[in-house]
């Protein structure tokens, strides 16, 4: 017996696994699994049988609200999107100037893609972002180069969602690192301040933070002095995200073996040098999954600004669906918008998995 090598872990060559075997192994391996497979399969088939005739065969893909009305109840009204896409994407931005938020959105996507390529991770990235954001600012505000000035209350749609999410993530991240370091600091004042900030913000829902920013905060200011509504919401989102991210980063800092800190000290590095060169690179790498989790959550949370009356992409779609002739197409609107959110969030998630693999390559050597 002792001389026979264990063979249980060896798998046959891939080419020999047939579809049936796969099914048997994964879906019908026991009575319980077979029952589960059948039940889930039934639910899926029933859902598709309901959805496909409504969403595909009987659906109205193009045309006017009248054609949709005729198909009401039997077919989906996807024609809502071709008819209202400009409002959903750009909301109340002046109609003739829609190319400006369109170009700004494209710039955002370019910045995301550019930053996603690791070869670009050097000093040039800073300049590209500075240039990109300046371009977006000029496009959105106008007032220079012959562009007409557009106040922030006319911004809306997809570009507003992207602005809130991008600035939320980009500014919350450094703030979160400072908060996490502050929370582990040995200076009592700094530590207390950071703990109080994190616990206070984390202890309330984002809706309360936004409400505070938009309803309570103006009452504390002298009469007549007001801050831009969008700016207040943006700051609220940054604070909220930074409190959550700070705890994620703290998790990474605590997971790092103490020897790393001591080694940094032994090398005679100052606190900031140690953090920048030894501690943070390792700590942050460990917390990529929960960090991306927070980013994705934040991206979706930006839709909560609808309660303070900002026309983000979801609220713009809902407003478009409140037009008398386009009323009653709630399912189509939500389906379309969730598809859009899914594309963004899935891309983020896929990309983070790839980054994680690359960053942890040293572990698999």
């Amino acid at each position: 017996m002792a001389g026979i090598p264990a063979t249980a872990d060896l798998r046959p060559p891939v080419s020999q696994i047939k579809a049936l075997d796969w099914l048997r192994a994964n879906l019908f391996s026991s009575w319980a699994n077979t029952a589960l497979t059948l039940v889930v399969g039934y639910v899926i088939v029933r859902t598709l049988m309901g959805f496909i005739p409504w969403g595909v065969f009987n659906a109205v893909w193009t045309g006017s609200a009248d054609e949709c009305k005729a198909a009401k109840g039997v077919g989906a009204c996807w024609a809502f999107f071709p008819a209202n896409w400009r409002f959903i994407l750009f909301a109340t931005f002046p109609y003739e100037e829609h190319w400006r938020p369109a170009l700004a959105s494209v710039t955002f996507v370019f910045l995301y893609v550019f930053s996603a390529i690791r070869a670009n991770w050097n000093a040039r990235l800073v300049y590209v972002w500075a240039g990109g954001l300046a371009l977006i600012g000029v496009l959105m505000f106008g007032g220079v180069f012959g562009l007409s000035f557009v106040a922030t209350e006319r911004w809306g749609g997809l570009v507003l969602t992207l602005i809130l999410a991008t600035f939320g993530i980009a500014l919350a991240f450094p703030l979160a690192i400072l908060l996490a370091l502050g929370r582990r600091s040995h200076m009592p004042a700094v530590k207390t301040l950071c703990v109080a900030f994190i616990e206070l913000i984390r202890g309330v829902p984002l809706i309360s933070v936004l409400f505070m920013a938009s309803v309570m905060f103006p009452l504390f200011l002298p009469e007549g002095v007001t801050f831009d509504k969008l700016l207040r919401a943006q700051v609220g989102i940054i604070f909220f995200a930074s409190a959550y991210l700070a705890e994620v980063v703290r998790g990474g800092l605590q997971a790092l073996p103490k020897g790393q800190y001591e080694a940094a000290d032994a090398l005679g590095l100052s606190y900031w040098q140690a953090m920048r060169m030894i501690v943070l690179p390792q700590a942050l790498r460990m917390v990529i999954p929960p960090m991306v989790n927070t980013f994705i959550g934040l991206f979706k949370d930006t839709s909560l600004v609808l309660i303070i009356g900002l026309l983000d992409v979801l609220n713009a779609a809902k407003t478009a669906a409140a037009q008398p002739e386009w009323r009653g197409y709630g399912p189509e609107v939500y389906f379309g918008i969730s598809l859009m959110y899914f594309v963004f969030c899935f891309a983020m998630s896929k990309y983070s998995q790839q980054v994680e693999v690359e960053f942890n390559r040293h572990k698999h050597r």
Binding site: G224, V225, T319
Partner: protein, 342 residues
């Protein structure tokens, strides 16, 4: 200034500090001075209610309340386009007005005693008389709300609607079962699916639901009882009477224009009118604008650029299937009545 601001805040977010201008020679109203210094009227609007305040598919603001704000801009600047809209939710609206974020709140707001006094607001004009009613299916053969004994009634939570409903049924000693559903669309779906016998909200809302959401409007009846008073009108901050005057008389000028038959189309033909009322309205005589610290041709500008009350009603509200009803002029049996412009 704007150019400078946009460069400084190229990071895409601006801080707009609207510092109230010093009361100079001009209007005698800090709000009007601030509006002039800023170059536009800042108007708090609804953003979700068709016919009253909502952007259309091109992103342009439309609605009765929105056009009222345009009329204000026409009165102050002689240019109805010098207005900007801030979308406000029901919870935000009063704070936004109190803190000076908006100059005027024209957002389907019911004039009540507590809002007028303890909230520090100033109402004065009513640009839409609304009231809560019921819609039922014609097949149910119900003629009056009093016959709704034992009925299941769909209602949206958190508004005065829900309270009015309970008050009305208690006062009349009728039993009912409320079905409380948050979203308007789901309420309508529940009503149409027969989950409730009746749906209750403001009559204007019922009319537009009947016109836009029911497969066959003739199958549904709006009951004659109106169980609450919902006078909707623009509000301003308490304490700036001059600005409140301008807001009030802007509405009255639009009523007067309708009563005198002056419309945006024919206002120019009335320029040499011998009717003293029209002369005063259009600023040919009387110097009434100057009394409010604005141009004497204020009402001319309102009518020319926005229209009289009947015109903006027909443009915005009539397409929703809402009848003019009590919002007719007093001369036609309605409630719209303005003090003399003299």
């Amino acid at each position: 200034m704007k150019l400078l601001a946009s460069v400084v805040t190229a990071a895409a977010i601006a801080v707009t500090a609207a510092v109230p201008a010093q009361a100079q020679q001009g209007s005698g109203s800090p709000t009007v001075d601030a509006i002039r210094a800023r170059g536009h009227v800042q108007c708090g609007a609804n953003g979700q209610v068709a016919g009253f305040g909502m952007p259309n598919a091109r992103g342009e603001w439309t609605g009765l309340d929105v056009d009222f704000c345009r009329a204000l801009a026409a009165a102050v600047f002689g240019d109805a386009t010098k207005v900007r809209f801030t979308t406000l939710t029901a919870q935000q609206r009063f704070t936004a007005l109190q803190s000076g974020e908006v100059d005027v709140l024209a957002r389907n707001t019911t004039w009540t005693l507590s809002r007028d006094t303890s909230l520090g607001l100033e109402f004065g004009a009513i640009n839409f008389y609304d009231g809560q009613g019921f819609i039922v299916k014609r097949s149910a053969n119900i003629k009056s709300a009093k016959e709704l004994n034992g009925a299941t009634i769909c209602v949206q939570p958190g508004t005065t609607t829900e309270l009015n409903l309970a008050d009305y049924f208690r006062a009349n000693r009728i039993r009912f079962t409320p079905v409380v559903i948050e979203r308007l669309e789901e309420n309508i779906a529940a009503y149409l699916a027969g989950r409730c016998d009746a749906y209750t909200t403001d009559v204007s809302g019922l009319a537009s639901i009947r016109a836009a959401n029911t497969p066959n409007p003739a199958d549904h009846v709006i009951l004659p009882e109106v169980i609450s008073k919902e006078p909707l009108g623009p509000a301003v901050r308490h304490g700036d009477q001059r600005w409140a005057d301008i807001v009030k008389w802007t509405h009255f000028a639009m009523l007067e224009a309708e009563e005198l038959g002056v419309t945006s189309a024919n206002v120019d033909t009335h320029a040499n009118s011998t009717n003293p009322n029209i002369q005063r309205l259009l600023g040919t005589t009387g110097g009434l604008g100057a009394m409010m610290g604005i141009d004497n041709r204020w009402a001319y500008n309102i009518i020319k650029q926005v229209g009289n009350y009947g015109e903006i009603f027909e443009k915005n509200v009539t397409p929703l299937g809402i009848e003019r009803g009590v919002n007719r002029l007093w001369t036609q049996g309605g409630l719209m009545y303005n003090p003399p412009i003299r």
